[in-house]
Amino acid sequence: MIRIIAFLGGLGFVAALLVGALMPREAVEEAVTEKFFKEHKHVSFTTDGPLGKFDHAQLQRGFQVYKEVCSACHSLRLVSFGDLTGIGYTPGQVKTIATEWTQEQPSINPDTGEAATRKNLASDKFPSPFANDVAARAANNNAVPPDLSLMAKAREGGAAYIYSLLTGFQEPPADLPKDSRPGPGLHYNPYFPNLNLSMAPPLVNDGQITYGEGAPKPTVDQMAKDVSAFLIWTAEPKLEARHRAGIATIIFLLIFAGLCWGSYQAIWANKEH
């Protein structure tokens, strides 16, 4: 009985599926976005691989790029000033960075209770450049600049994608169809899945930022790489600790596995199996 019901049910499923499979398909043209979209570039970071580490000098340069360029539009709401000690700043330097930060923290006037602002403390998260999404949209061609804290984990390709995006602004190709061309306020970038985005190229000139003594030359490429590395850190500040713990754990487990193998062999020595 059970087999008869199963057989009939099986026939039903198979028939429905094969009818579906035999249905002719409408020819679909390759979408324009797919045709012009480019896979992110290949670039290496010091954090790559199981032994990857942070390069504090690079992260500090990347932070400088964020501070001087990106922070005008993008928040970093999951990171606090105090976290910067993790990339080699001293608590004293952190305090200076916090108090000198142009965007202040929203607060209230202690006497009148009216909205006010105050200087940043080390324990504060980075303040958002816009009071709210409406303000952000109004200032950015109707697009909200996304928060960058997790950006290096939130896109296919991660930091390499960010790097490609920053260095990928270009003139639209001649054969790009008219309705895919960038409209007013939009910029063509084949690494962006929609091809046109509302962010104007933020890094345009070599030397747009002045790096300190002994740093590499601040070319657009170098600045893009540095800020991408910085965003790896903001997305995964515990990466180095994770790699270190991983190596120790694996060494321990290999020894443990060896001991287990030995006792397994000893116990089964005279037992064919």
């Binding site: 057989f7 499923f13 579906g20 499979a21 199981p50 089964w268």
Partner: protein, 420 residues
């Protein structure tokens, strides 16, 4: 029941004797996973995965309980509370990555455990109940993992919940009200998140209880083995402890190494990047895909594209997806062959490996966006999936002439050793 030659628990220490009279818990353990449980001597590594699945459950429960101390199940703060765990809680990144990748490890070992059951015919009499309870555990695991994935409240959490609960709206008339009742609203929101968290905390303990029944049911006939020939005498078995505790210990070490590599060096390899974007009901991600362990079932769901026999395509998909798992409940009665191990089934073997290949294809189709050639491929692969279990298997098991079986486990083992 156990074999008559099973060793008996005889405590020598006065405290253990006292304990045995008052609460014979050590006796229970001795008989269940100690020297008092005789096990076939020829088990291969595939028999290790049940123990590993238990280990994975313990890891999920321990890491989950600590995560729950820091997590907040509220739509406004859930995403940030997970980031708080990742950044500010001591070793929080470890807990969270262990739990998220632990779910992956759990499904890997459970799928291998199910593979063992299918290949070696473990679902057949007298172990049908063990198999049935296993399918119950599998369903509970899927529900737990689905609800767990909603908790971080990222984009894929939200849209996954939207799609999965959307299944119910395929049911005519009552579907939509049921969906709203389950979600506590028109779309996933705080009410849904809270109940998912509550159930996500509960179900692993239900799973633990069903595992006890699973092992209890197993201990009545005892474990099967790679030849599928039943135990005949004492020579065929060894005591579980120390023989299999040692062998399983080695398997556990390998499991932990694989787990550690994933956790420490590629913790986001299987994660969807968009889930690092907070849930936003107003912005639909380009591709909504479930976790890898649901891909084959997702492919079956999407394989039905035409209304057929007055049943709408969407409803077919939902029924088929549930049936693809529920049919495992009748598997012991679909396969009549008295021979358990596929090794001795020359005809069935071909269909078996075709099914394994088919499931891989289904997985790929489930991962890809719903476009050609994946849809058509998914339709053909789904058709074979159902045809295999519901049509081919009952026929093959009737017409096949199996190869000669060894007379006993010991004979098979000794023959193998002579050959080697």
């Amino acid at each position: 029941m156990s074999f008559p030659w099973a060793k008996h628990y005889e405590p020598t220490h006065p405290f253990m004797q006292w304990m045995d009279q008052k609460l014979p818990l050590p006796r229970l353990v001795y008989n269940a996973i100690g020297a008092g449980y005789p096990v076939p001597r020829n088990l291969n590594y595939f028999w290790n995965f049940g123990v590993l699945a238990g280990a994975a459950l313990v890891i999920q429960i321990v890491t989950g309980i600590v995560l729950a101390m820091h997590y907040a199940a509220n739509g406004a703060v859930a995403f940030d509370s997970v980031e708080h765990i990742m950044r500010d809680v001591n070793s929080g990144w470890f807990l969270r990555y262990a739990h998220a990748n632990g779910a992956t490890m759990f499904f890997i070992v459970v799928y291998l455990h199910i593979f063992r059951g299918l290949y070696f015919g473990s679902y057949k009499a007298p172990r049908e109940m063990v198999w049935l309870l296993g399918v119950v555990i599998f369903l509970l695991m899927m529900a737990t993992a689905f609800m767990g994935y909603v908790l971080p409240w990222g984009q894929m959490s939200f849209w996954g919940a939207q799609v999965i609960t959307g299944f119910f709206s395929a049911i005519p008339v009552v579907g939509e009200p049921i969906r709203q009742w389950l979600l506590g609203g028109f779309a996933p929101d705080n009410a849904a998140l809270n109940r998912f968290f509550s159930l996500h905390y509960l179900l692993p303990f239900v799973i633990a209880a069903v595992i006890i029944l699973h092992i209890w049911a197993l201990h009545i006939p005892g474990s099967s083995n790679p030849t599928g020939v039943e135990v005949k005498d004492e020579q065929d078995t060894v005591p579980f402890h120390p023989y299999y505790t040692a062998k399983d210990g080695f398997g556990l070490a390998i499991f932990l190494i694989v787990f550690a590599v994933l956790l420490f060096f590629a913790p986001n390899m299987l994660a969807e990047p968009v889930n690092y974007v907070p849930a936003n009901p107003l912005s639909t991600p380009a591709h909504i895909v479930p976790e890898w362990y649901f891909w084959p079932f997702y492919a079956i769901l999407r394989a039905f594209t035409v209304d057929f026999l007055w049943v709408p395509a969407k409803l077919w998909g939902v029924i088929a997806m549930f049936s693809s798992i529920l049919l495992l409940f009748i598997l012991p009665w679909l396969d009549n062959s008295p021979v358990r191990s596929t090794t001795y089934r020359p005809l069935y073997k071909w269909f078996f490996w075709l099914l394994m290949f088919d499931i891989v294809i289904l997985g790929i189709c489930g991962m890809k966006p719903a476009a050609e050639p994946w849809v058509r491929m998914g339709q053909i692969a789904s058709a074979y999936y159902f045809a295999h279990f519901l049509i081919i298997l009952p026929i093959v098991s009737r017409i096949e002439r199996p190869l000669p079986l060894p007379n006993s486990i010991t004979e098979a083992v000794l023959a193998k050793h002579k050959a080697a």
